[in-house]
């Protein structure tokens, strides 16, 4: 099925290799690896919605940015501790999804795509115009990384933060793995493939979709907070459609509907952004071209496309030998 053992083992291998090299490679590269992990969580969260449940969201930045803002505001303006501010951020994202989906679940397919886009843009415009609270276009700078307590290592250094993010990545990935391989996760896949039949089988489709959207939003929030702490900063761009489009691209480059493919997509994304930014600032153009290519050749994901191509290349030779 979608959760191949191969995927699980390569995910474990990835984590082990990351843990091994994260401490010894140059700090800049450690920073990039941290980004891969954060985007990986973000991409997995969208995959629950898009890949598993078949709800194409183009507004996932809403939960990413909302949690980042709420955490930043709670710690900067209200002086809350790390645990409280972090929990508040995740709760805000989950709550936003819960409220929004009371409405959004009345729509599906194209309508859902548009309404999620509109929702994220509303939050974006709030972040831009509600300057008293959000700092407007300047965002909220100077959010210090948390101290986890005297008995745990500091996360203020690049390496310390990397291991902190890695730990959260492992926990999130494990939770999401359990989620999508549970009977509930299989029901979500059933809804994606044939909603009518699931309904006929007696599943309460609405509740399943509702749960998936909240879980997805909560983990997107986790990624948003980690990203905010990585930069000590949050600005409206965290809520922008570019971020939504980028995370969607990650799961399309990986493979929608597998949990760890999108992490690979996140890796490709970060490396691509890093490499290209040294040659050109036409980054939007590149994203656009990638989207066009994906749409034309590999709408199910570049990874699956490559796999099919490899299989297709092997098969004709096999046929030829049997024929000859």
């Amino acid at each position: 099925m979608a959760e191949s053992r191969w995927g699980l083992w390569s995910a474990i291998a990835f984590v082990l290799i990351a843990a091994a090299v994260g401490g010894v490679i140059p700090p800049y590269d450690t920073g990039l690896l941290t980004q891969v992990l954060i985007y990986g969580i973000f991409a997995m969260s969208l995959d629950v919605l898009h890949g598993y449940t078949g709800m194409p969201s183009l507004g996932h930045a809403a939960y990413f940015g909302l949690a980042a803002y709420v955490t930043a505001i709670c710690s900067l303006k209200l002086g809350w501790g790390f645990a409280a501010a972090g929990a508040a951020g995740i709760a805000a994202s989950a709550l936003a999804a819960a409220l929004f989906h009371l409405l959004a679940l009345r729509t599906s397919h194209s309508y859902y795509l548009m309404i999620t886009l509109a929702f994220s843009q509303v939050l974006w415009s709030l972040a831009v115009s509600w300057t008293d609270v959000t700092g407007g276009d300047n965002g909220l700078p100077g959010v210090a990384r948390p101290s986890l307590g005297p008995w745990l290592p500091s996360v203020s250094s690049t390496i310390g933060y990397f291991y902190f993010v890695l730990a959260i990545f492992v926990v999130s990935a494990a939770m999401l793995y359990v989620f999508v391989t549970s009977p509930l996760g299989y029901a979500l896949r059933g809804i994606r493939d044939n909603e009518m039949r699931m309904r006929a089988l007696g599943y309460h489709v609405w509740t399943y979709k509702y749960l998936a959207s909240i879980v997805s939003a909560a983990f997107a929030g986790v990624a948003g907070e980690l990203y905010m702490y990585l930069n000590n900063f949050v600005s409206p761009s965290a809520l922008s459609v570019t971020v939504s489009a980028q995370v969607l691209m990650m799961i399309l480059v990986g493979a929608a509907g597998t949990l760890f493919g999108p992490v690979l997509g996140a890796g490709v994304f970060v490396v691509l952004q890093y490499v290209l930014s040294t040659y050109t600032d036409r980054w939007l153009f590149v994203i656009g071209v990638i989207y066009v290519l994906l749409a034309l050749y590999a709408p199910q994901g570049a990874l699956l496309y490559l796999r099919d191509r490899l299989k297709a290349r092997r098969r004709p030779t096999a046929d030829r030998t049997s024929a000859g």
């Binding site: 009345r106 194209s110 795509l113 548009m114 415009s125 509600w130 036409r282 656009g288 034309l296």
Partner: protein, 284 residues
């Protein structure tokens, strides 16, 4: 009283710009089931090309015509070269147009820079008119009139011509129309080009009010998305009603609650979708 007249007219002129976009969006969706993410790009490119063409020729009408034709041709190319290959694949089509949105945005930024540019008002329409005790810009009145005329034209085209009948039939049952021997791929291309041209017209005519700048494509496309979501995808009447609603709400919202900007748009959308998930005039 003056406040109400001026802001209602302001809302109406915004509504007419939105209608030019939403009409194309809703026709394209209704017939081909394509969510055209790049619709705002046609608007933006139309505006930018008009600015350059007007600078070159010194005449608003010529510049506007050149821009609209250029974008209609772009629409034909996009539809024939890309979208036709993804026939009936909703998600890949949306992704493709999303890619075009980014590509065109970047090309426009590269070509015209990051500073806002205004499309110059046509000379005969500059200045204001006095009526009901207010002085109101003539150009905005022209825009409202133009929008109404376009709406009437589109309605007559769809309801009173043979091609319009083919388009309406295609929305209901495309295979049957094909079976009757009608060249649907050609109709698809024509309607896509028409939609693109209308969006470009929106850019040209809206340009003197809203200006062209990086991000304008997305800003206005988002409002158009809200319009068609409220009005119902695939319905011209819905697009018209939705435009009026969104244009007026956005204008008064910005006057009364400037800090909440887009949020005020979201409220009518929530109400409409809660009561009618397929929009005011939505089909099925």
């Amino acid at each position: 009283m003056n406040f109400w007249i001026i802001n209602t007219l302001n809302g109406l002129s915004l509504a007419m710009i939105l209608f030019l976009l939403a009409a194309g969006l809703t026709l394209i969706f209704g017939l081909m089931h394509i969510i055209n993410m790049a619709h705002g790009s046609f608007y933006l490119l139309g505006g930018y090309i008009a600015i350059s063409a007007i600078r070159l020729t010194g005449d608003f009408g010529t510049g506007a015509l050149l821009a609209v034709i250029a974008i209609a041709v772009t629409g034909v190319v996009v539809q024939r070269l890309f979208l036709a290959r993804l026939y009936k694949q909703e998600m890949p089509q949306a992704l493709l147009t999303l890619g075009l949105l980014f590509i065109i945005a970047d090309v426009a930024f590269f070509t015209w820079g990051g500073d806002p540019l205004l499309v110059p008002e046509p000379r005969p329409l500059q200045g204001g008119v006095r009526f009901l005790g207010v002085v109101y810009p003539l150009y905005r009145l022209f825009l409202i009139g133009w929008g109404l005329a376009t709406a009437l034209f589109l309605w007559a085209f769809l309801e009173r011509t043979k091609i319009g009948a083919i388009v309406r039939a295609g929305m209901d049952d495309e295979e049957m129309v094909r079976g009757l021997g009608i060249n649907m791929p050609l109709v698809f291309t024509a309607i896509f080009a028409l939609g693109a041209a209308l969006a470009a017209l929106g850019g040209v005519l809206g340009g003197p009010l809203l200006g062209m700048f990086p991000g304008a494509d997305f800003e206005v496309a988002l409002l158009a998305f809200v319009v068609v979501t409220v009005g119902g995808l695939g319905s011209i009447r819905g697009a018209f009603l939705g435009s009026l609603l969104v244009g007026l709400v956005d204008n008064f919202g910005n006057v009364w609650f400037p800090q909440l900007s887009l949020f005020t748009i979201f409220v009518p959308m929530v109400i409409v979708l809660a009561l009618r998930p397929t929009g005011l005039m939505g089909r099925v």
